[in-house]
Structure formats: C-alpha cells, structure tokens
C-alpha cells in the first residue's frame, strides 16, 4: 500500500508568497506557525510586521497598499473575530485587495469540532461576503495564488484558511 504524505510545509507557503510578489507579512503568530516564523525571519524578500492585536493588521496593510506595497495578513481565526471593525472599515469599505492567511484553529475534516473558533469562522466570512479557500497540504498551497488573483480581480479581501498545522 502506498502511503502519501499529507503535510503542509511552511516552505510551500513562503514560496507562494514570493511567487506572488508579496512584500510584507503583517502578522501575529499563532500556535501553528512557529516553523513559518523561523523561515520568514530568514527571508529577505518578505518584511515581517509583527502586531500586538490582530485588528492592527488590516490597517497596517491598508497603509502599505496605498503606499504601493503588497502585504499579506497572517493571523488565526480567533484574531479574525477580534478584527471585525478593521475588516469592515479598512478592507471591505475601501476595496483593499488583501489576502488574509488564517489559521483554522479547531478545524477537522473528520467530524464535529467542539472549538467555536472553527464553528463560526466560515459563517462570519459568508456574512461579510469574503471569498475563502482552504489549504491543508502542500498540494493545496497554490490556492494562495488563486486567492491573490481573486483579490486583485474583485478588489476585495480574500481569505485562505490554513486547515492543518505546519510540518517541520
């Protein structure tokens, strides 16, 4: 029997970010992104902008975007709930083509989850009319390119839900 490795490596994400010419990663680390942090701090093409609270990310991204840069936001789904007014006012209202990578805490494709962070996130994105993609393995990583194209095409924020923890 052939066993396929279904892992999402941070290198796959970073390569997608570089391929799409993102310039800044505005982020607040979550428990799933430690390997990503180590990679990003050593990546000269991507400037890390750490924040204290997730609602700052869309606003900083708005300034970067108006200034001609191409930021991406990287936070957890719990941070999306905290960021509601920033998403409303500084992403949706101003038509910011922002890609938001969102750690999908609590996600399981194997059954029900008790984590309300997972249960509510897709409903919230639907309510805002935000298109989203799900990535769980390296094979899915190119959906970040799809998200970037969709954000540019619609001039709206687009979410990428990261449904698995990063492998080393």
């Amino acid at each position: 029997m052939t066993v396929y490795e279904s892992v999402l490596h941070p290198t796959s994400i970073v390569e997608e970010l570089k391929k799409n010419k993102f310039t800044h990663v505005v982020w607040l680390p979550d428990s799933e992104t430690n390997f990503m942090y180590q990679l990003l701090t050593n990546e000269p093409d991507l400037d890390l902008v750490p924040v204290c609270r997730e609602g700052e990310t869309m606003a900083i991204a708005a300034g970067l975007w108006v200034g001609g840069k191409k930021p991406v936001v990287l936070i957890q789904n719990t941070g999306i709930f905290e960021s509601g007014d920033s998403i409303r006012g500084l992403a949706l209202d101003v038509h910011q083509p922002l890609v938001m990578l969102i750690g999908y805490r609590g996600w399981s494709r194997h059954g029900l989850t008790n984590d309300s962070a997972a249960r509510f996130i897709e409903h919230i994105l639907h309510a805002w009319g935000i298109t989203y993609f799900l990535i769980e393995t390296d094979d899915d990583a190119d959906r970040i390119s799809l998200a970037a194209e969709e954000a540019d095409r619609t001039q709206k924020p687009v979410a990428v839900l990261v449904g698995s923890e990063f492998g080393a």
Partner: protein, 196 residues
C-alpha cells in the same frame, strides 16, 4: 491648552511634503485639518476607524521611508488601539511622527471623559513603549517654538498635545460633508506620492 484648529494649522504649515493622517477632532471638517489644509492632496483622512490611524500611518511610513508621515490621533482613539504604540516602536520607522490630540473626552459622542483623562501619562507611555523621541506640549507658544526640533527628531516620534475639549456630536447625516474622504485619498494619494 492648545486650540485644535491652531494646532492643525501649525502642523500643516510645517508639513514640507509630509503625508498627514488625521482622525477625529484633528480631522474634523469644521475645526480640524480639512479646515486649514494647504496640501490636501497629501491628506489621508480617517474617520470612525476605531483607533487605527496610527496603524495606517505605520504602513505608509514603511512603504515610503523617504517621506515624513504625520499621524494626528485622538486620545479616545489611541486608547482603543494602545498596542499600536509597541507595534510602531518595534518597527521603528524613523519617518513617522505620531501626534496625540489629548482633549480628555469623546468629542463625537457628547463629551464623556475618556478613561484615565488627566491621569494617564501619555509621554511616559510612549517612552515606555520605545518611541525614539517623545514630547509634550500644553500651550501653543511652546509648541510653535519647538516644532522644528520635533520634526527634525529621528522617529518614531510621539508628541502629546493637550488640546481644548471641543464637542461636535452633530449626527453624522447632518454634518458638513468632507471634500476629501478616505476613498478620495486611496484613489489619489498614490499618484501624489508615487509607489514606495
């Protein structure tokens, strides 16, 4: 105390090509920057952004390190996004000047005091957060005589201004419309400052 309009008029007169990001009373159509601006093509007005003016200003400052970015914040606003002071200090853009218009009240909701009004030490908070330079002024004369030194300091700079509490709680639908809005700025500012 410093009159709100006197403060924005002075800062506008000294902007020298700076992008100004005003919010709340500093961006008020009747008494804020829009009432005196001589270069509104470089203004990025934000109303009702719930404390995020300094965050937007940080993004602009990182995108355009060659250009001064002046954020005109409110105390109620900054209290909503206090972590921004550490976020700004951590990235340490030397072209960012963060002015705080401290009137002690929520001016657009009827003048209720903000938490810690007259008690919180804003200059000390900024020093503790790690701003490269901090100033505090409670009268126009001192601000006027020191403004060149303030603007020459290596940033990020934090400038606490004690301003007169002026209440403007006219319902939004009855207020004079702004000539330049955030939507205008997003469309036009990139042409004015170029791509970073």
């Amino acid at each position: 105390m410093i009159n709100n309009t006197d403060a924005v008029r002075l800062l506008d007169s000294k902007r020298n090509g700076a992008v100004i990001v005003p919010t709340m009373n500093a961006g008020n159509v009747r008494m804020g920057l829009p009432s005196v601006s001589t270069h509104d093509e470089l203004d990025f007005p934000l109303s009702g952004c719930m404390g995020k003016a300094s965050s937007v200003g940080l993004g602009l400052a990182l995108a355009h390190p060659e250009r001064k970015i002046m954020v005109l914040d409110g105390d109620g606003s900054l209290l909503m996004n206090l972590g921004t002071m550490v976020t700004v200090s951590n990235k340490a853009p030397d072209n960012l000047i963060h002015f705080l218009f401290d009137n002690g009240i929520y001016a657009v909701t009827g003048g209720q005091p903000v938490p810690g009004a007259g008690q919180a030490d804003w200059k000390l908070l900024a020093e503790g957060a790690g701003y490269a330079a901090t100033f505090s002024f409670d009268n126009l004369e001192d601000l006027t005589t020191s403004i060149d030194q303030v603007l020459a300091a290596k940033g990020p700079v934090f400038v606490h201004l004690v301003v007169e509490p002026e209440i403007d709680n006219t319902p939004v639908q009855f207020r004079a419309p702004a000539r330049r809005t955030v939507h205008t700025a997003i469309k036009k500012l990139p042409e004015a400052i170029g791509r970073g």
